[in-house]
């Protein structure tokens, strides 16, 4: 498996485990059927939440990430599974920090494709967890600056 973030390949010492096996661990692996609210009692001590993407076309993980960020989870958030480069920017926007892909996928879709996909669409109509202001917000800033 290979791990990447917005800057390129990265590594992590944290090994997420299913919640049943978590004990007093700090890294959890969740299926994409998890209710974000179930994590509330745990989230302050967690350092890593990994959300499984069984198929790239199954977008539940995007909503779970957004809900986790909305309820105040501040640790690392990882999307793990079948994502494709064209979803990288979406993943960062909804609050993921990193993506874990298989070696096969990394060979077929090398790092350059992932990083290029990140900048394919420069502006977004939605405010993101990645700190990028939406087009709607930026229009307001521009209008206020002009006034």
């Amino acid at each position: 498996m290979k791990l990447l973030d917005r800057h390129g390949w990265t590594t992590s010492d944290l090994v997420p485990v299913p919640i049943e096996a978590l004990g007093d661990g700090v890294a959890v692996l969740l299926p994409n059927t998890t209710h974000a609210a179930d994590l509330l009692p745990l989230q302050d001590r967690l350092q890593l939440v990994a959300i499984d993407f069984p198929k790239f076309s199954d977008g539940r993980g995007f909503s779970i990430a957004r809900a986790l960020r909305a309820q105040g989870y501040e640790g690392r958030l990882r999307a793990t599974g079948a994502l494709i480069p064209d979803q990288f920017a979406f993943a960062l926007q909804v609050g993921f920090d990193e993506i874990e892909i298989t070696d096969e996928q990394a060979a077929r879709q090398p790092l350059g494709q992932w990083l290029q996909a990140l900048t394919a669409i420069h502006d977004s109509y939605q405010n993101g967890e990645d700190g990028n202001a939406s087009i709607l917000t930026r229009r307001r800033y521009a209008a206020e600056a002009a006034a």
Binding site: I84, F90, Q116, A120, Y125, I135, R140
Partner: protein, 558 residues
């Protein structure tokens, strides 16, 4: 109409470049076919029976002449010189080559158009009343709301990989011409007791295999809360909509299975947790968008045009057109004209590039440079002076676009059917042609009055047969085309699904059966002012049932 600012233009340009690059990655094997398919669908590119099909977004059906001329150019240069107006107010090209698609997208971007989210499991092009800004029964023009939703839903990071496609429609009028009750989300602009404008929110309507009428989940949503509330609905759907069965994946099934009350509770729970201010549009931004939809500079005119009245008295063909294809405009001395793209015997909704150019010229000259595509697959010129109607009609005659059948029995909605579509189980267009030919006589059509026939060539119901006053569904029965007829469907504010009249019949028997249904109606209607739908509501289906039996058996019984 809306004009792109630098941000809108940049997003569309970026998307074109991204698609070009996605095609390249598919060709070099980086993307598998399975991975590429949703990416191309999200850019409107389908693989059909014979070729690719490209669906071009016409947001809320509004176009200017420059855009329509560009569509004509694209149809000539990269397709077969015609396009097809769809029931979602879009335009489809049926024969583009994959290699040309990026260039087509570039040409669209030049005129502020795109194919973004005209297909795929994402929020699709938002539709609206085609008489927006024109109708006298309107509380507010729905298009600023639709444009706001277009922007919010474009490349939405959370909602681009939904369980299934997602369609939103908006109406701002008392009479629902946008069929909001049969959309995944329908928005009706309403006024509350305090006089404030907001939205009634319907969820879970839809046609297809399991037709359902949408349920009201909020009677009055303050307008400033729109996007956050939509986001809450979408989040519940994205998390809980079924993904195990494509045919049970629409939001209507989720609402149906958990129940409306439970669904409302889930949405309100998510809504309470959402960062509303982070999602909702600033009122200044809403006002900025709305300003683009300011009405054109109307002249002060008398309500009655002497020239128009004289021309009607002089020319019976013109009088017939004026009686059927004009819609009352809220401004005295103006009218909105429906140009039927359904001449008798032609495929419904097809327009040649010459016809597109003719319409563009007429819009520029007579209709404040504006056109609308309707969900019944016609074109509207929304702001025409009554004084100009005769001159405009004469030009329509020259272009072969003067068919006086708006809303009448030959103004048929039909899906592409087995002639084009890989999913179809029966032909649709030839059935529409045969019915239209049988009822070609304009006087007879006028006598029958308002009657919408809708035809689908399979249970996916792209021809909206469930909400046709007369609905026709083409199926395959042991290798033979078989057509089921339903009566009493209504897409409007009294939304209703049609009821089956009886067992299916053969293709050849359809025109005859329709004729007998119509004859029955003419016989039993309470008067010329009782429309077909009202007669069906009054008497039910029973009087119409004998129409399905072969003529011989009726004669024998008699």
């Amino acid at each position: 109409m809306y004009r792109y600012d630098e941000f809108d233009a940049a997003v569309v340009r970026d998307r074109v470049a991204q698609f070009r690059e996605q095609v390249a990655r598919r060709l070099d094997g980086s993307l598998t076919e399975e991975e590429f398919t949703p990416l191309r669908l999200m850019n409107g590119l389908y693989l059909q029976l014979h070729a690719y099909m490209l669906r071009i977004a016409v947001p809320y059906g509004t176009l200017n002449s420059r855009q329509l001329r560009q569509l004509a150019m694209i149809a000539d240069r990269w397709d077969r010189g015609y396009g097809h107006f769809t029931t979602r107010q879009n335009l489809q090209l049926n024969w583009p080559k994959l290699a040309d698609v990026p260039d087509i997208l570039d040409a669209l971007a030049e005129v502020e158009m795109h194919c973004i989210q005209t297909s795929g499991n994402c929020i699709r092009n938002v539709t609206a009343d085609h008489f927006a800004g024109v109708a006298a029964d309107e509380i507010e023009d729905p298009r600023p709301t639709a444009e706001l939703i277009r922007q919010w839903s474009t490349l939405h990071p959370e909602f681009s990989f939904l369980p299934r496609k997602f369609k939103i429609a908006v109406t701002g009028a008392a009479r629902d011409r946008a069929a909001v009750a049969v959309h995944d989300i329908g928005l009706r602009i309403v006024r509350n007791e305090a006089g404030e404008v907001g939205y009634r929110v319907l969820v879970g309507g839809g046609l297809g295999r399991t037709p359902m009428i949408g349920k009201v989940i909020r009677d009055f949503l303050p307008r400033t809360e729109l996007l956050a509330f939509l986001e809450a609905i979408m989040r519940v759907y994205n998390l809980e909509g079924r993904r195990d069965n494509k045919y049970k994946a629409r939001i209507k099934i989720l609402v149906h299975e958990i129940g409306t009350d439970a669904f409302i509770a889930r949405v309100e729970e998510e809504y309470a947790k959402l960062d509303g201010p982070g999602v909702n549009a600033d009122p200044a931004e809403v006002a900025r968008i709305a300003a683009y939809f300011a009405p054109p500079a109307y002249e002060t005119l008398p309500a009655v045009s002497q020239g128009f009245e004289a021309a009607k008295a002089r020319d019976p063909d013109f009088a017939r057109f004026a009686a059927t294809n004009l819609f009352p405009h809220k401004i005295p001395g103006y009218t909105a004209i429906t140009v039927s793209v359904k001449p008798i015997g032609a495929p419904p909704g097809d327009a040649s590039s010459d016809q597109m150019r003719a319409l563009a010229d007429l819009a520029e000259r007579y209709s404040a440079d504006e056109l609308r595509i309707t969900h019944v697959q016609n074109v509207v010129l929304p702001h025409v002076k009554l004084d100009d109607v005769h001159a405009l009609w004469s030009a329509l005659v020259e272009a072969g676009l003067e068919t006086p059948n708006a809303g009448l029995i030959t103004d048929i909605i039909a899906c592409p059917g087995m002639d084009y579509c890989a999913l179809a189980t029966a032909r649709s267009i030839p059935i529409a042609q045969a019915i239209a030919t049988r009822f070609a006589d304009a006087e007879r059509q006028a006598l029958i009055g308002e009657l919408g026939i809708k035809i689908s060539g399979c249970i996916n119901a792209c021809g909206h047969h469930h909400v046709g006053v007369i609905g026709i569904l083409g199926l395959d029965k042991a290798g033979v085309e078989n057509y089921q007829i339903t009566l009493g469907g209504d897409p409007g504010e009294q939304a209703a699904l049609g009821q089956r009249l009886g067992p299916g019949i053969d293709a050849e028997a359809v025109p005859e059966a329709i004729e007998r249904i119509v004859d029955t109606y003419l016989e039993i209607r309470s008067g010329a002012d009782e429309a077909f739908i009202d007669t069906v509501r009054r008497v039910g289906l029973d009087p119409f049932r004998p129409a399905l039996q072969p003529r011989e058996s009726i004669l024998e019984a008699a």
